[in-house]
């Protein structure tokens, strides 16, 4: 057995060229094959790729889909984000616990099942949802949870779970998924048709500099949320010196409440790859990488087929569409469950086979990115916009939206509304108009831009969705009056604590402290001074953190405090007796009592 492991792991390493920068592929494959990356496997990998055991352990311990401890044949990862909780995930969880006789974080003794919680898997519009290995199961109930366990036990594979397939390409044999697209409104940029190759053909009739100029004229800004001008990013990357240049597509949408890229990857992959290829031409790159989040592994075979088809049509490969010297291809890099990898420099670290730690800037990726090559990282939706701009013209694109935010934006809307799903809307639409489209009549609070965005109340519903007003990468979560803004903020703080890479102090420690104090306030143990404490601490985390995750991680607390201060004030009260309410004498004495083997006489109860 041990010899088998050694041989198989060596073979996996060899298949990946014994290349330590392909560590993600190596450890993912070992995990899939053996249900763990054991200590012995780590030693073998380290020797094969000429690295060190602790470096392998460093990677394995970072990603939540990888583990040193053995996992069951079926790993059920139930999504515990706030929308799933609102849709009754706890009942589903209870059914899984009962059927399997284990709790979350445990495996059955026969090694068949592991039960885990996982943050947002991009299915908020069809929650509660879970991953069963690479397959997604949606709209769960306690009954369907029991059926899932029964089917897995009977059939011995997860493919049999897909007896009802979703709409569109979800029913494609290579996707074979029960996920529904839920595309509610199709706009002219992303969800319109395009004959593959048309936009590339137009781009190739222009010079690379002219292509960049077109993107600049269209005033396209990054769709991931930060809104950096795409043309400028490309210009920097093109201007940087390097033997090769790299185009990376960030398909790691992990922001809770975001699922727009899921629909693009399912329905518009050709448009996306078209945009990436145009980017390759514009910046002078030969290498393209699609970084696909681990949760979307079910789309990989389908996406590989689309890539193969494009190679056959000479839309990828050497001398694309006969253009001598324009060689470009795309490979898919799988992630393994780490939100921080959506941050572009962390994503590059991950592509290089490292922990998903963000990198210091400068140098910026445009100067030194993937394997020190000049790199442009852009969002899935951004590439789609590029292809459309080249096809329809920069002027056509810039006429839509508002002056600072041209074109359309995909919004993934979920929560307390009757029409959750994906909407392609022109920038500049107001929050109220958006809520009306989604069928949200009793909205009390709206989380725009996901946890790293802001929680706004009615007073802000007249504002516009655009980069200069209410900015968003696409996530919109709606909450009615039954929901408590503090609990919403607490959910999101738990998320950031879980997903912080731990590199820098303010994010690693500060978010834990914010979460703890919020818990104290929710438990009725807060004082009015605690609100200043949250404000100060939140600001320190925002100012001093190293990357975008940390800099925005205190937003749930800061924006809920700003826009729903009354809710906080209801819960805190003056400390009139001078006692510290968060102090629990029994808890404090517990360790001492344990050591002494007797109960405290003074604090008997």
């Amino acid at each position: 057995m041990a010899e088998n492991l050694e041989t198989a792991v060596k073979q996996i390493c060899r298949k990946n060229g014994n290349d330590r920068t392909r560590m993600m592929d190596i450890v993912r494959e070992v995990q899939d094959r053996f249900g763990q990356v054991s200590s012995q496997a780590m030693n073998t990998i380290a020797r094969a790729v000429n690295s060190h055991r602790v470096e392998v352990e460093s990677v394995v311990s970072f990603y939540s889909f990888l583990s040193e401890e053995p996992k069951g044949k079926f790993v059920i990862r139930l999504c515990n984000d706030i929308i799933d909780k609102m849709q009754g995930v706890e009942k589903v969880a209870e059914a899984f616990r009962e059927e399997l006789g284990i709790d979350f974080g445990e495996s059955t003794s026969d090694g068949k099942f592991t039960l885990e919680w996982t943050p947002c898997i991009g299915m908020c519009d069809q929650a509660p949802a879970a991953l069963v290995n690479n397959k997604v199961v949606t709209r769960l109930s306690s009954d369907s949870a029991r059926e899932i366990v029964k089917s897995l036990k009977q059939n011995g594979d997860e493919d049999h779970l897909m007896h009802m397939l979703g709409d569109g390409n979800n029913a494609d044999p290579l996707v074979n998924s029960m996920v529904n697209n839920n595309i509610r409104e199709r706009g002219p940029v992303v969800f319109a048709d395009l004959e593959p190759g048309t936009a590339i053909h137009k781009a190739l009739s222009m010079s690379a500099v002219e292509v960049i100029k077109d993107v600049k004229t269209a005033r396209l800004r990054g769709r991931g949320g930060a809104g950096f001008p795409t043309g400028m990013k490309w210009e920097f990357t093109r201007a940087a010196s390097g033997s090769d240049k790299v185009v990376i597509c960030n398909a790691d949408e992990g922001e809770p409440g975001t699922f727009k890229d899921r629909t693009i990857l399912t329905e518009k992959p050709d448009l996306l790859f078209e945009g990436m290829t145009i980017a390759g031409y514009a910046i002078g790159a030969r290498t393209g990488v699609l970084y696909l989040r681990g949760e979307y592994a079910y789309l990989r075979p389908f996406l590989e087929r689309i890539l193969a088809q494009r190679r056959n049509k000479n839309l990828l490969g050497m001398s694309i569409l006969g253009k001598a010297g324009f060689d470009f291809d795309i490979r898919i890099q799988m992630g393994a469950g780490a939100y921080v990898c959506g941050e572009e420099t962390a994503l590059i670290s991950s592509c290089e086979g490292l922990r998903g730690d963000p990198k210091n800037r400068p140098p910026f990726p445009a100067q030194k990115g993937y394997l020190t090559l000049p790199t442009s990282v852009n969002n899935v939706e951004t590439f789609c916009c590029v292809a459309r701009i080249l096809d329809k013209g920069a002027g056509w694109f810039a006429e839509m939206g508002s002056a600072g935010s041209t074109g359309t934006k995909l919004l993934s809307i979920s929560g307390d509304c009757t029409r959750p799903g994906v909407y392609e809307l022109e920038f500049g639409i107001t929050v109220s108009e958006m809520l009306e489209k989604a069928g949200a009549e009793n909205a009390y609070a709206v989380q725009v831009g996901g946890p790293s965005g802001q929680l706004i109340g009615e007073a802000d519903f007249h504002r516009k969705i655009c980069y200069d007003d209410v900015a968003t990468g696409g996530a919109v979560m709606i909450f009615n009056r039954d929901r408590n803004p503090l609990e919403i903020a607490h959910e999101f703080m738990e998320f950031f604590c879980e997903e912080s890479c731990g590199y820098c102090t303010p994010c690693r420690v500060g978010n834990e402290l914010l979460k703890q104090r919020l818990e104290a306030i929710i438990a009725g143990k807060g004082t009015p001074e605690d609100l200043d404490y949250l404000e100060q601490l939140g600001k320190t985390v925002a100012v001093a953190s190293r990357c975008g995750l940390g800099q925005t991680s205190s937003n749930p607390v800061r924006t809920s405090l700003k826009n729903f201060r009354g809710e906080y004030e209801k819960l805190v009260r003056e400390n009139s007796d001078g006692m510290q309410r968060t102090f629990d004498i029994h808890k404090a004495l517990a360790a001492g009592e344990d050591l002494q083997g007797r109960k405290s006489v003074i604090y008997a109860d």
């Binding site: 602790v54 460093s58 970072f62 922990r355 912080s500 890479c501 102090t505 690693r508 834990e512 404490y533």
Partner: protein, 240 residues
């Protein structure tokens, strides 16, 4: 010389060499910027965030940010020093730092920085996280309770010792330093003479049989605060 540039820090004009970081230039000018993870012999890392300064009104870490002509840097402001104190306090509550009986007391950079920044008690509640101690090595012991995750051991081992003894595992609050061994520290090729051991700023990596060798009053930071060595250059710079 063409690669010389000028910028201002806290209103003082500083001459620097193109390619230097703000911290390197400020050090040469005898202006101390508080720090923990930065070390003169190691590449910039930027993890503790104590050296956060405002560069043209944007927060940047002085240890990683290169100088540029005409830039305006603020460092010794009440707001920035409060952020620094706040970060030091976070490190105090994250770990378990028992200064009164720690062997590193008086020579500890975390403790000395707390004093320098005027920290009294942390404003945050102690977390009392559980951490391991590894005393398996004959000459070295490691107490994770006192580790501040500055990566000086990780970097020193790679950059200065030509080894790879330490690396981080886990993430978030569960992040910790691990050893290149499937057992414990004794299973690595670490040596007591490694720079990785010497460069630990706190009492997390200690040499056995050397504790309390220096009496109170003669320890490194007993009579002069952290950063004095850099600030003493100021006089020299002025005279020069």
């Amino acid at each position: 010389m063409s690669d010389k540039i000028k910028f201002t820090m806290d209103g003082v004009e500083i001459e620097a060499t193109q390619g230097q970081t703000i911290m390197q230039a400020a050090d040469e000018a005898g202006m101390y910027i508080p720090r923990l993870c930065a070390h003169k012999d190691l590449l910039p890392f930027g993890s503790c965030r104590v050296c956060t300064v405002m560069v043209n009104d944007r927060p940047q870490t002085a240890c990683t940010q290169p100088v540029s002509p005409g830039m305006s840097v603020e460092s010794e402001t009440e707001e920035l020093n409060d952020i620094r104190r706040s970060i030091v306090e976070m490190l105090f509550v994250e770990g378990n730092h028992y200064c009164p009986f720690c062997e590193k007391s008086g020579n500890c950079e975390l403790q000395a920085l707390g004093y320098r920044l005027g920290m009294l008690a942390p404003r945050y509640p102690y977390m009392f996280n559980k951490h391991d101690v590894d005393a398996s090595h004959p000459d070295i012991y490691i107490d994770h309770n006192r580790c501040i995750l500055c990566a000086r051991c990780v970097r020193s081992s790679k950059e200065l010792d030509g080894k790879n003894v330490f690396q981080f595992v886990g993430r978030g609050i569960h992040k910790r330093v691990a050893f290149n061994s499937d057992t414990d520290l004794s299973g690595t090729d670490v040596s007591v003479t490694d720079k990785a051991i010497e460069n630990c700023p706190v009492g997390a990596i200690l040499k056995k049989r050397s504790a309390y060798a220096v009496p109170i009053g003669k320890r490194k930071y007993d009579s002069q605060p952290l950063g004095s060595d850099i600030e003493s250059r100021k006089a020299a710079v002025k005279q020069g």
